[in-house]
Symmetry: C2
Subunit: 200 residues, 2 copies
């Protein structure tokens, strides 16, 4: 059973391969590099769910294989839920993790501790060549620090302290991060559903 | 009758002096440079109203004179209403108009035309030495262009096309801008109230 992982984000590929392998070791996970290459379109959706589904559908169309995609990001209370769907291009160009993180810290420099709540949200979708698709969500709440801590993970992980934890998402072990993370939650919901429909 | 204008923003001083002069020419408007200097604190409020009132109260405390202040900003639909109260420090440091504007353009690069709605919102407040105060609001709706146009105004004016207008806020004459602008609306509400309480 072969499934395409429709993401070009190296950090996500590592996490999603790990999460899929834990859930369904008999599924062969192909990265975009393993399949006939295509140029993913821009992400123009207003919601995580719309973007995740669009990415999965695009991969199915390009490869003819079942596809899994996610769209996820940081939702900052003091930014009215942004960067949200713009998390990857918050600093104005796509994929500069460090610039995005530094920008959020700068924007929140005068925001007091009691208003530094945030969440990581993930929408995960599968799509099949026969047209079926599904989207699920995962979320982890936490607070934003004033300086980065830790070298693991990617994106905004170094400034995100998950609720009830003493370590940032970038300080947690991959196993501990997957256990609580938004993407871990979403993929643990999605993968059994995908396996069910693929087997049916 | 002397009133302190509690803003260090040069663009705002020009606009607010002009708007106050049009409304109440017998009021002597003092800038922060004209009064005993004080260091305005950081703006930490979650709303325009809270910040405007805090600035006015701070000026009254420092000078013993009636004070007028505003807090205003750009609310972008596709950014869930942000930059909002963070408009002046959107790019991470305070007061870099060009960087702030370029950042919004970059963040919205993939946002289609039909989701580029925005508003300029102004909360204007007065505060008196006897403790009385009031806050009013003005708003102008419009859409965001993909490149700046015009050299007038300040802040995000060059990318803001007010509803029903063919010119950006930076292309309008000062007179035309004042007539429709968020700050013009708010000060036309506020100044008669302030004059009434000062005369009572």
């Amino acid at each position: 059973m072969r499934v395409v992982l429709a993401t070009a984000n190296a950090g996500k590929v590592v996490e999603m391969r790990r999460l899929l392998a834990a859930q369904a070791p008999y599924v062969e996970v192909l990265g975009l590099a393993d399949v006939q290459a295509y140029e993913p379109g821009p992400e123009t959706g207003a919601t995580f769910a719309a973007n995740a589904l669009a990415k999965a559908l695009e991969a199915v169309e390009a490869t003819g294989l079942p596809a899994v995609a996610d769209d996820s990001g940081l939702t900052v209370d003091a930014l009215n839920g942004m960067p949200g769907v713009l998390s990857a291009r918050w600093a104005g160009r796509h994929g500069d993790d460090r610039a995005n993180l530094e920008l959020v810290l700068g924007q929140l420099a005068d925001v007091p501790d009691e208003r530094r709540g945030a969440g990581f949200v993930c929408a995960a979708a599968y799509a099949l060549p026969d047209g079926r698709s599904e989207v699920v969500h995962g979320e982890v709440r936490g607070t934003l620090l004033r300086a980065p801590r830790g070298t693991g993970g990617f994106g905004y992980d170094p400034i995100f302290l998950p609720e009830g934890m003493a370590l940032t998402s970038a300080e947690l072990s991959p196993h501990d991060k997957d256990r609580i993370s938004h993407r871990g939650q979403a993929l643990r919901l999605l993968v059994p559903r995908l396996v069910d429909v693929l087997r049916a």
